[in-house]
């Protein structure tokens, strides 16, 4: 962990509120963490606020959601109160996001190669030829065997795993400092999942980037990240080194781990999670 | 039961009976509709139209709507004739009030024909697919290929003038979009897992169509109908204008516009007042339809 180097991303007391019919709904409560040149995982169940946290950092919380924070910085840039235009300048160039389903994130009527090249031109500049070269190099970097062929394919012509690698290529081509990956492999088969994660790992390490991996999958996060934040009801209830997840202390984390079926350790009944309202309190 | 307890009973997330569940659902839809100001304006117009049609004999003298009185022709607004009189000396206010009945009759009859025909063609086409779909949709395409007003005119001319024939002519030209809509809605639902679950239970095709698919298609069909109502009223007025709708001396709004046309420059109100009635009613149905669509969309989301 790079404790001494200034963090790439600093979040202190982040709060996201959505006004609702029966009063405000607080989706994220006082979330604080820093991200250096490392891989941090956020795990939690649906409704835990993990995705909203990622969206808040990207400036993608839909209206009428409200974001407040004591501190939210990308390097030296203050993200609080940044305008949509300001965020647009950051997105892609300094911070990027990979979502679960590449099918919805890619333009269906443009070849994947052109989309990557366009992204390159928009952020890095340069001519069409340079963009094409960069896109091909990026496709190669995500281990696509025949970049020339894949360059000319339309999104519906690529498989799920390849689509997600194309997404990663597109997101990383402008060389952002931080990548947020929200359930990047959840729609993929297990064998493909490993390949995509390996690609992601190689690039993030090789380029010295910070990665925030958002997932519901405890095993995946534990096996892939350096540090894990466990979220429950909008709050971080536990933060530990990924290797120490099996020794987690919070009853919620322990309950989640225990409720997973285990191939090696078959039981008739799985222990069920008993939720404690106190977990939602600070 | 006080208002507050009734409200909480309706909004109870755990209803205790079938009735409470259904009423609660309606109430929730009503609440989201009532928050939409324009939709409520539309609803107010439509309700006012219905009220006027029902209370017509109380608002105006039935005789005044049809009785000619040539000495008092083409008079401007007055206490005796709030909207003036037409070229035959008939009270325009009374004619507007009784004309609401004719408009509503056309609207109701067209709906009663169009919805079942549209569903009857569209549902089997979407559900069974294949040859059934091909045959039913080609028939629909043939009807769609003609311009609507021209086809309605041809039917009205062939069937002879009169309100019933005008209704039939409009309905015959109005159903194809409903068949297409019902087919499209059915297509998106026929492979739904709740339909497969019904197949597994041994439910017949008829039961699946009626109990699973119709309730989901019906709301979009009814919304489409409300939005189309403006067009139906205007087509009916158009037929009346051309003398193919209701026959004189019945106070049909379109025919009234037609008769006021000759004196439009000097006695503008003769054509303008029924024109305004057609316009306001069309806008009312349109706003209501828009609001209903928003409610349905927010429920689907």
């Amino acid at each position: 962990m790079s404790d001494r180097a200034p963090p790439l991303l600093t979040v202190r007391r982040l709060r996201v509120t959505f006004p609702g019919e029966q009063g405000d709904v607080v989706a994220v409560r006082d979330v604080s963490f820093t991200l250096g040149r490392q891989r941090v995982g956020i795990v939690g169940e649906s409704g835990s606020g993990k995705s909203t946290t990622g969206r808040a950092i990207m400036g993608l919380v839909p209206k009428p959601g409200r974001i407040t924070a004591d501190e939210m910085r990308l390097g030296a840039t203050d993200l609080r109160g940044l305008s949509e235009r300001g965020f647009r300048r950051l997105r892609g160039r300094r911070i990027a996001m990979v979502l679960q389903d590449p099918k919805y994130a890619l333009d269906p009527v443009m070849t994947v190669g052109r989309q990557i090249a366009e992204t390159h031109r928009a952020h890095v500049g340069g001519g069409e030829r340079a963009a094409r070269q960069a896109a091909l190099a990026m496709l190669e970097a995500v281990h696509i065997r025949d970049p020339e062929r894949v360059f000319a394919l339309y999104p519906h012509e690529v498989s799920g795993g390849m689509g997600q690698r194309v997404m990663i290529a597109m997101m990383l081509i402008a060389g952002p400092e931080v990548l947020i990956a929200d359930e990047p492999t959840s729609a993929l088969d297990a064998t493909v999942q490993t390949q995509v994660l390996a690609v992601l790992d190689e690039l993030v390490r090789g380029r010295g980037m910070g990665l925030l991996l958002i997932s519901h999958n405890l095993h995946l996060v534990a096996g892939f990240c350096d540090r894990v934040l466990v979220m429950y009801a909008g709050r971080i209830v536990e933060s530990c080194a990924a290797g120490q997840l099996h020794a987690a202390t919070h009853p919620y984390t322990r309950g989640l781990l225990a409720s997973l079926p285990d191939l090696h350790h078959r039981r008739t009944m799985l222990p069920q999670l008993q939720r404690d309202p106190a977990w939602a309190e600070p | 039961m006080s208002g507050a307890t009734l409200r909480s009973w309706l909004l109870d997330p755990a209803p205790a009976s079938r009735r409470q569940a259904r009423l609660g659902r309606w109430y929730r839809s009503w609440r989201s509709l009532s928050r939409n100001g324009l939709a409520m304006a539309g609803l107010a117009i439509v309700l006012a139209l219905v009220a006027i049609a029902i209370a017509a004999p109380l608002l105006a003298d039935p005789a005044a709507a049809t009785q000619q009185f040539l000495p008092a022709r083409l008079q401007f607004f007055s206490r005796a004739h709030p909207f003036g009189t037409d070229e035959l000396g008939r009270d325009i206010f009374a004619r507007i009030v009784f004309g609401a009945r004719i408009t509503l009759t056309i609207v109701a009859l067209v709906s009663v024909i169009v919805v079942p025909v549209g569903l009857g063609i569209g549902l089997p086409a979407g559900y069974f697919g294949g040859a059934v779909d091909a045959v039913l949709m080609r028939i629909t395409d043939i009807f769609l290929a003609f311009p609507r007003l021209v086809l309605a005119l041809a039917f009205a001319a062939a069937l002879g003038p009169g309100i019933e024939n005008a209704v039939v002519a409009i309905a015959l030209t109005a159903w194809p979009p409903y068949a297409r809509l019902a087919r499209a809605e059915t297509l998106t639902r026929r492979d739904a897992e709740f339909v497969q679950a019904a197949v597994l239970q041994g439910a017949s095709h008829a039961r699946i169509l009626l109990s699973q698919i119709v309730p989901l298609c019906l709301s979009s069909v009814l919304i489409r109908l409300t939005l189309d109502m403006a067009g139906i009223i205007i087509t009916a007025a158009g037929l009346g204008f051309l003398g193919l709708g209701t026959q004189p001396p019945a106070p049909e709004w379109g025919a009234m516009v037609a008769s006021g046309r000759q004196v439009l420059l000097d006695q503008w109100w003769v054509a303008t007042i029924p024109g305004a009635a057609i316009f306001i009613t069309s806008v009312g149905f349109n706003l209501l339809g828009d609001g209903l669509r928003d409610v349905a969309d927010s429920r689907a989301a």
Binding site: E45, L270, L273 | A16, L200, G202, P215
Partner: protein
């Protein structure tokens, strides 16, 4: 209880003909829990639908409880097998209450005593009277899946098919549903056939496991053998190695 003899399912025709399930033969004894694993496109869900009688043009023989199923299944045969689907949002009609969802199969199958049966079915899946008149949008994902299970079991089928019943749920809810299925299976002596992409989930519920790849059943094994890594087919090995938490070594065969 379930006997499949050379079941195939093909879609399309001519050059675009695509074989989703190819010559699968399988035996599942009464009271057994059998799991089918495979990746997307392996044909596991299509096979399940063919057994359920949802694929009209399936080839081969499907025999349930000693009776060969005809192409068009009579209403009484529908009571032999019921299914729970993957998506608890899509498998319940959005405009119908839980009560309506449970009453429909009783009406179709002409089973009387609806009041008692509905209350009993709800109780059995851990729901109460408070849930009976709710619409699906007023229920959580886990509660919806419980309703789907109650709907399947209300006609008392001897065979229950499960298509990824927990993959759309959170892990804590998954544990609750798996425990419910374990209990119901014992109480009703159900024969289960479950499809999943998750080996750990399959091995938890099913002692016998079949591995599918590209429409074919490539290996039949047991949960115990999987846990020890005693597998033969390379695809089974690949699936096993990709299973999170798999630490052992896969025996080279």
């Amino acid at each position: 209880m379930i006997r499949l003899d050379r079941v195939s399912v093909r879609f399309g025709s001519g050059a675009r003909r695509f074989t989703a399930v190819a010559d699968v033969s399988l035996d599942v004894a009464a009271g057994e829990a059998f799991g089918l694993v495979g990746e997307s496109g392996s044909g596991k869900s299509t096979l399940l639908r063919a057994i359920a009688g949802l694929v009209g043009h399936a080839e081969g023989t499907v025999e349930l409880a000693g009776t060969v199923m005809p192409r068009r299944r009579p209403r009484a045969a529908r009571r032999l097998v019921q299914m729970v689907f993957q998506d608890p949002y899509g498998s319940l009609h959005p405009n119908q209450t839980v009560d309506q969802a449970l009453a429909a199969p009783l009406r179709v199958q002409r089973l009387g005593d609806g009041e008692r049966r509905i209350a009993a079915a709800l109780h059995e899946v851990g729901l109460g009277a408070a849930h009976r008149f709710r619409f699906p949008h007023q229920l959580s994902g886990g509660q919806r899946q419980r309703v789907a299970i109650a709907r399947a079991l209300i006609v008392a089928p001897p065979i229950l098919l499960l298509d990824e019943p927990t993959s759309a749920l959170d892990v804590s809810v998954q544990a609750e549903i798996l425990n419910l299925l374990t209990r119901l299976r014992q109480e009703h002596r159900l024969t289960l056939l479950m499809v999943s992409h998750d080996l750990a989930v399959i091995a938890h519920l099913c002692a016998h496991v079949g591995v599918m790849q590209q429409g074919r059943l490539v290996e039949q094994t047991t949960a115990a053998a999987l846990a020890e890594g005693r597998v033969h087919h390379p695809h089974t090995r690949a699936l096993l190695e990709a299973t999170p938490g798999f630490t052992g070594t896969v025996a080279a065969d």
